[in-house]
């Protein structure tokens, strides 16, 4: 009987804890998933709300009007180029671009969760129902400038690609661009049909192999294990034979000879990194990739970003070696790589990307207060500092990223050239991830150029765009701060 009584209490405690756990879980889910659940097209509340309420305005960080409703029709910016630069961010009229601001933030845009003050204000002023005004962290002029840069250089003209610019201190997203894009007002169906996947937001939804930019992760793994690995000597013989079918080569079959890790990073030597990956072993590299948020379920509040992939399960030696320089089944979005650069710049702490700077209701009340948060710590401060100095060499010390350097700015970065096959065709991607190490312009970026020609690298294509972006920031600091 005594034992039975004891068991009653245990079971009751378990059940009560389970119920409390349910309540807590419900709350947690609400905090993380509510926007995603709410902004679906099947939400009848939203359709009803849209009929009754005029959508609010969307402004960029400098007050430029990006979208507004005039006489029942949604109007965007004036020029075609401006509209095209923002279409993946804001959304097109038919809602075919997934998770754009106009659909994802429709709860705020249509004032679904109207506050008490709003209702009172509305009653007193007898105005029509208008949604909240969203101020984004985006600089619209920067988006247009990036688009111009892509078409301005011979190497990147006409290519698809993506660019993400983030303030690595606060996590604010300055620019988000995906090419090809189109003007939502003027583009015809036939024109859109000629473009290559124009509805994809390549910056946040498409996964690509990171190529040599993944060497940041491999280097971090080496440094975390041994902080003095920066000066370790490696030997590069131009090729590393792992099996009959697989052999690691460097770009244009260069032979580097004896070099330290720092120099290997500078020259982006694949052989050294393959050897380093084999030495680290699959578990250490996987652990470091997980630290850098590969395989994390990204649940950002303002953005939907596809999860990056690091191959799980057992890896063959070839795959492991290829992982060392980012060519195995690893895949990441440009946004994630930008966050990686931001983490290195921010002393090893990866910020959470934010898109909404403020949300104000018609009565002027701030509905959503600004808050920045972090994804987590990806590496130690010392590792981040070492990586920063290595990335400085890449851009300012005669490495592959030298085309990205800007005078009076302290640009640091890493280039990457990834090879892949799409539908049987060989495709090359050019990457540049980098940041400005000055505290008054704390910006990190990632530029991707798809389908670059043979012989071109990230350093000859994406780095040019990066230089233009940094130059814009140098010229217009008040716009981006």
């Amino acid at each position: 009987m005594k034992q039975q009584r004891y068991r009653y209490k245990i079971v009751a405690l378990l059940l009560s804890l389970a119920l409390v756990g349910l309540a807590v879980w419900g709350g947690w889910n609400l905090a993380h998933y509510s926007t995603r659940w709410f902004s679906r097209a099947t939400n009848t509340r939203l359709t009803a709300q849209k009929k009754a309420v005029t959508a609010g305005d969307i402004l960029d960080r400098n007050g430029i009007l990006l979208a507004t409703t005039k006489e029942g029709r949604r109007e965007y910016r004036d020029t075609s180029a401006d509209r095209a630069a923002l279409v993946h961010l804001l959304g097109d009229r038919q809602g075919r671009i997934a998770n754009a601001v106009e659909s994802f933030q429709s709860g705020y845009l249509y004032g679904y969760q109207s506050s008490l003050l709003d209702s009172v204000y509305r009653l007193i002023r007898k105005t029509d129902r208008v949604g909240n005004t969203l101020t984004l962290t985006i600089d619209a002029e920067l988006c247009t400038a990036i688009q111009r840069a892509f078409s301005g250089h011979r190497e990147t003209e006409g290519h698809s690609g993506a660019a993400v610019v983030i303030n690595y201190r606060t996590g604010e997203v300055l620019a988000l661009l995906s090419l090809p894009n189109f003007d939502p007002d003027q583009a015809t169906e036939s024109l859109i049909a000629t473009l290559d996947q124009p509805y994809w937001n390549r910056a946040t939804q498409a996964l690509y192999p990171p190529g040599s930019t993944f060497k940041i992760v491999t280097t971090a793994a080496l440094l975390e294990r041994d902080p003095d690995a920066v000066n370790r000597q490696f030997t590069c013989e131009g090729h590393l034979d792992l099996s009959d079918t697989f052999s690691v080569h460097d770009f244009q079959n260069a032979v580097h000879g004896k070099l330290t890790l720092r120099q290997a990073f500078l020259h982006s030597c694949n052989c050294v990194y393959a050897a380093a990956a084999l030495e680290l072993g699959p578990d250490a590299l996987r652990r470091e990739a997980r630290q850098f948020a590969f395989g994390d379920n990204f649940l950002f509040r303002d953005l939907v970003v596809a999860n990056s992939v690091y191959p799980s399960g057992a890896q063959t030696q070839e795959a492991l070696a290829a992982s060392g320089y980012g060519q195995s089944a690893i895949a990441a979005t440009p946004m994630h790589l930008c966050l990686m650069a931001a983490a290195v710049a921010n002393q090893g702490v990866m910020p959470e990307p934010r898109l909404l700077r403020s949300v104000r209701s018609v009565s002027g009340v701030a509905v959503l207060p600004w808050s920045s948060s972090t994804v987590g710590s990806v590496c130690t401060r010392e590792t981040a500092a070492a990586l920063q100095s290595m990335m400085k060499d890449v851009v300012q010390g005669g490495g592959s990223g030298s085309r990205a350097s800007v005078t009076t700015l302290d640009i640091r970065g890493k280039t990457g050239t990834a090879e892949s096959t799409v539908q049987g065709r060989k495709v090359n991607y050019g990457w540049f991830v980098g940041f400005n190490a000055q505290p008054d312009l704390p910006f990190a970026l990632c530029v991707l150029t798809e389908n670059i020609a043979e012989g071109e690298t990230g350093g000859t294509t994406s780095a040019l765009i990066a230089k233009d972006i940094f130059t814009y920031m140098k010229n217009y600091p008040e716009r981006v701060q």
Partner: protein, 409 residues
């Protein structure tokens, strides 16, 4: 001694009455009809009467009565905000439920030889469970309703009460083979009816009650493994089980088809936020089955997740009280009876809330007391009546011991 009890009861009852007065008054302001205003007066009045008058007439446990009052009135409130006719029906069924509760209290107090009753109940319940596949009608994919004229009954709910009596009786005498036979027969009949949620409920309750009674952990774990094996087998062989698991994992695959219920429920919870969209606002009718299975989603939409959490805590208080009563029971049978009823209510709550919040696949059980179904409400009140019967016996014994002690210092 009695003074200490007055204060908590008064404080809880007063705030519950205030809450319902405010809510019904608000809804009455929206509708502007007589029913609304009369409910705004009647419901708090009934709560007050129930809290103060009923315990004088019958040996009722006041805390349990207050909790069930609160939950049933919440059901009336939510049903009224969507469809007033349902609310009146629910309130009337609650009256019937109170009678059933008192009946069960007396049943526990008065019955001297449980064996005869149990041997009568066993074939009766098996027969009741066998009825729906033969004469019943299929609703929502499960064939567990029978219709007597215009009255619809769910035998599996009625058998729940009998099951607890049977379980407690056989477990307290440690005659496990007949028990195993009966439970397996019940489960088989329920599987025939495709009422998998209730089958799961019966199974878990029996297993947990067995562990409580015997303390035999290895056998309990073996039983759990058998259950898991059975679930796996069901998953492999029944398409509708596979479908339920698929929409649990990703309901948005089939947003407008199979996953519609879950998607609408999640959307409703998301649109509610922490404090809800406001009583009477929002669109609760867009949630399918918003009167019974998904009533928690309606609560979360109108009142918010915070209030939803409070409702869950009220169920937790119910469980704690039931366990307290079971722990103070004098005999093993009474303790198992009270604990079994508590377990049934608690597990039912867990299953349905878990399904609504997408933690476990939807199982098709309803939220006790709050959901609309008549049989379900009466059965839950019977279970509470059983707990209260044991509680009143505890009180009797305690009073007696006190008197004896005072008499022989």
């Amino acid at each position: 001694m009695s003074r200490g009890k007055k204060n908590p009861r008064r404080r809880l009852t007063s705030i519950v009455a205030l809450f319902y007065f405010l809510t019904f008054a608000l809804l009455a302001l929206r509708d502007g009809n007589v029913i609304g205003y009369s409910l705004a007066v009647a419901v708090p009045a009934v709560i007050l009467i129930g809290a103060y008058v009923l315990p004088r007439l019958f040996p009722i446990d006041q805390l349990l009565l207050s909790l069930t009052n609160f939950l049933c009135a919440l059901g009336v409130l939510i049903l009224y905000s969507t469809n007033p006719a349902n609310a009146i029906q629910h309130a009337l069924t609650y009256g019937l439920g109170l009678l059933a509760m008192v009946f069960c209290i007396y049943l526990v107090r008065v019955v001297s030889s449980w064996s005869r009753l149990i041997w009568l109940l066993v074939p009766l319940s098996l027969a009741l469970l066998a009825l729906p596949p033969l004469v019943g009608r299929e609703i929502n994919g499960a064939k567990n309703w029978i219709f007597l004229g215009s009255l619809s009954l769910q035998p599996s709910e009625m058998v729940k009460v009998a099951l607890i009596l049977i379980l407690a009786h056989f477990l307290s005498r440690r005659s496990l083979l007949p028990l195993l036979g009966i439970v397996v027969a019940c489960l088989a009949l329920l599987m025939l009816q495709r009422d998998l949620g209730t089958a799961l409920l019966y199974f878990l309750t029996s297993l947990l009650l067995f562990w409580i009674a015997s303390g035999n952990l290895p056998v309990t774990l073996a039983g759990l493994a058998c259950g898991a094996g059975g679930a796996w087998w069901g998953y492999r062989h029944f398409a509708h089980v596979r479908q339920r698991v698929a929409i649990w994992q990703d309901p948005w695959q089939d947003e407008l088809g199979a996953g519609y219920q879950l998607v609408q429920s999640l959307t409703a919870i998301a649109s509610g936020g922490i404090f809800g969209v406001g009583l009477g606002l929002g669109s609760p009718t867009s949630i399918p089955i918003h009167t019974s299975d998904f009533i928690f989603a309606v609560i979360c939409e109108q009142f918010g997740m915070f209030f939803g959490g409070c409702v869950l805590l009220m169920f937790a208080a119910l469980i704690c009280r039931g366990a307290m009563i079971a722990a103070s029971a004098r005999t093993g049978f009474q303790g198992l009876l009270a604990m079994g009823a508590t377990l049934l209510l608690g597990l039912q709550t867990l299953l349905i809330i878990g399904g609504v919040l997408k933690i476990i696949p939807l199982t098709g059980v309803t939220l006790p007391f709050v959901s609309y179904g008549g049989t379900s409400l009466v059965a839950s009140m019977c279970l509470v009546g059983l707990i209260q019967g044991v509680g009143s016996l505890n009180e009797d014994h305690l009073q007696e011991d006190l008197h004896l002690a005072m008499l022989h210092p």
